[in-house]
Symmetry: C2
Subunit: 360 residues, 2 copies
């Protein structure tokens, strides 16, 4: 079919008011729910307004509503990138949840250039967003405090390290605790734990869950079984190539991990930093003739769809991004509509869940 390239004239509130023969205010009350409880429109009239609005294809002008101080029903969504492999499910769920609550989502990529985080914050301000959801990794640049100052209604994924900030976090200690227990139940005795930096809170949490599970089973905690990526491993984290806009994953660090934990320490299980570490581990172990799970069990962390494609399929910890997204949007809605959230409701912990497949 052929399509005409004319910009269609939009129907306005006043157009349908004139057509029905009522005031704009009545139309506004019926269609947009404005005016509080003061306005009472007869049921007959209300129905007619609805009917005419529908037949004329009325769509309220959001810019106009926004200008008079109504909610924009727009959320800013800060992400590393729309295709962020570690958080693409989270991003998707956040967007779904926002939409389910009647909001639009303005997506802001931050990973392409160091100043993009702050630029997007400005943009969100211009755009008059009601609130911001921040799913950017803490290890990426960006002024979180400025974000919070400009947009008090902001909910983070993971603790941004700002006092009283609202955030949702996965129970990392609980996650590793589950994984460790699972491995112990499967008869593993020398369980390795792969971490990045020693000083990071997230990594300390994981270590805590690990130690606790060991002690509950009266197993000795051996520091030699904990692997830390050394500073020379620049590829310890997922990285984003700015030119191709593609993500890449650790490689060399994995061989080091195999040498130090699997070979030197005779580990019979590894809890990996994430599913990508785990997938690479499986590949490299396979090349060295070490069998998974016969010789060694591997547990991932995330539950990306990648886990179905490793051979064997990866047992992993599902970080429950759907629950996290629901919590984040729910918190944000509360902050926007009500007053500020009481302190004890500003930090929500989401429970992860172990998914057993074939690698353990």
């Amino acid at each position: 079919m052929n399509v005409e390239f004319d910009r269609p004239k939009r129907v306005r509130l006043v157009d349908i008011a004139e057509k029905v023969g009522v005031s704009r205010r009545s139309v506004s009350a019926v269609l947009l729910g404005t005016g509080g409880s003061r306005v009472s429109v007869g049921e007959e009239k209300a129905k007619e307004i609805q009917r005419v609005a529908k037949s004329m294809g009325y769509q309220p002008n959001l810019a106009a509503r926004q200008l008079v101080g109504k909610r924009s029903h727009t959320f800013g969504l800060l992400v590393a990138s729309a295709g962020d492999p570690l958080r693409s499910f989270l991003i998707q769920h956040l967007d779904e949840e926002a939409a389910a609550h009647g909001n639009r989502t303005l997506i802001g990529n931050t990973v392409v250039a160091p100043d993009r985080f702050d630029k997007n914050v400005q943009l969100f301000t211009n755009s008059g967003v009601d609130g911001v959801l921040c799913a950017v990794h803490n290890w990426l640049p960006g002024d979180r405090l400025a974000l919070l100052t400009q947009h008090p209604c902001t909910v983070f994924y993971e603790d941004p390290g700002i006092r009283d900030a609202c955030f949702v976090s996965v129970d990392r200690a609980g996650a590793i605790h589950q994984a460790t227990r699972h491995l112990i139940e499967r008869g593993r005795q020398r369980i390795g734990l792969a971490l990045t930096a020693k000083s990071k809170r997230s990594q300390k949490d994981r270590l805590r869950g690990y130690k606790q599970a060991l002690s509950e089973s009266s197993l000795k905690y051996e520091p030699e079984l904990v692997f830390y990526a050394s500073p020379k491993h620049k590829d310890a984290y997922a990285r984003h190539d700015v030119d191709s806009l593609k993500w890449s994953f650790p490689e060399a660090v994995i061989d080091d991990l195999i040498q130090r934990i699997v070979i030197d320490q005779s580990a019979d299980a590894i809890i990996a930093q994430d599913d990508y570490w785990a997938a690479t581990l499986i590949k490299r172990l396979h090349r060295s003739g070490i069998r998974v799970p016969d010789d060694i069990s591997i547990v991932g962390y995330l539950n990306h769809y990648l886990t179905d494609f490793t051979a064997p399929a990866l047992t992993t910890i599902d970080l429950n991004h759907m629950a996290a997204a629901k919590e984040m949007v729910s918190m944000l809605e509360k902050m926007i509509s009500g007053d500020s959230l009481p302190l004890e409701q500003r930090q929500v912990l989401v429970q992860p869940k172990l998914i057993q497949r074939e690698s353990t």
Copy 2:
């Protein structure tokens, strides 16, 4: 640090006009570039306006600009879902490109419910987007014609089947042509081609490229080497589970493919439908004791980061989503600023590129 939860008062155009002691019009001209060429502000004054605007943290109110008919600098981006595994790179690149041209991106998920496509089109209308980028798979529901009618400035990824519509497409015939030639050069003689439906244009294109490469090398085209997913294979396509919001990939169809093409027809190579088919193929072949690439070569289609995690790493065709995204945004910008695009510029073909890894 503690954060105050007050909504900050935004600086307006008039505020900085008063501060500097000039008219709003001058400020508008200097800061927003309005008023055409009529307005001439002295260089001194202009600099002072810039300085004061910066010091006061002025941010133009986009809703107000939009209301008086200026561009909203907002694009609608229709996607299956933000985490769409087949197009997440495309989505990311589209967003990047839009931002690079100074636009905001309103993301619209469509896969959660059948009416979401059309709902999002309405939403885009309300939001006053300048144009729409549609990256939704053609096999998903949604009224493309209504989209095009409401938003004449729309660019599709892949031909939506509407006359004169603007779209960017990958050269599918060229892609399969490259893959086939590559396999022939590597000494393969019985090259299988895995397709979905016989009647789909996209699949016919692939077949064309396949046949052409064969005939160029004087190889006989054998229809038995072409696999079509039968209607019973409901899992031939990537599917999105509405409850978990997660995607899943074909499984059973792959075993059928192995039986019919690899075993019955003794294929020594397979060009898969996409990287997911290819990854699953590699896994299943491995279980059957068929070695890749010793016994059979496998080529994927997409170049997802998944390809690095298969064992062996997957040779695949990079669909060049970055180039596609650049083209799409460039077309859209032209449509928005100028008049309608001449017919011959409405359909752009992007060239894919074979990436050799280990599976061939």
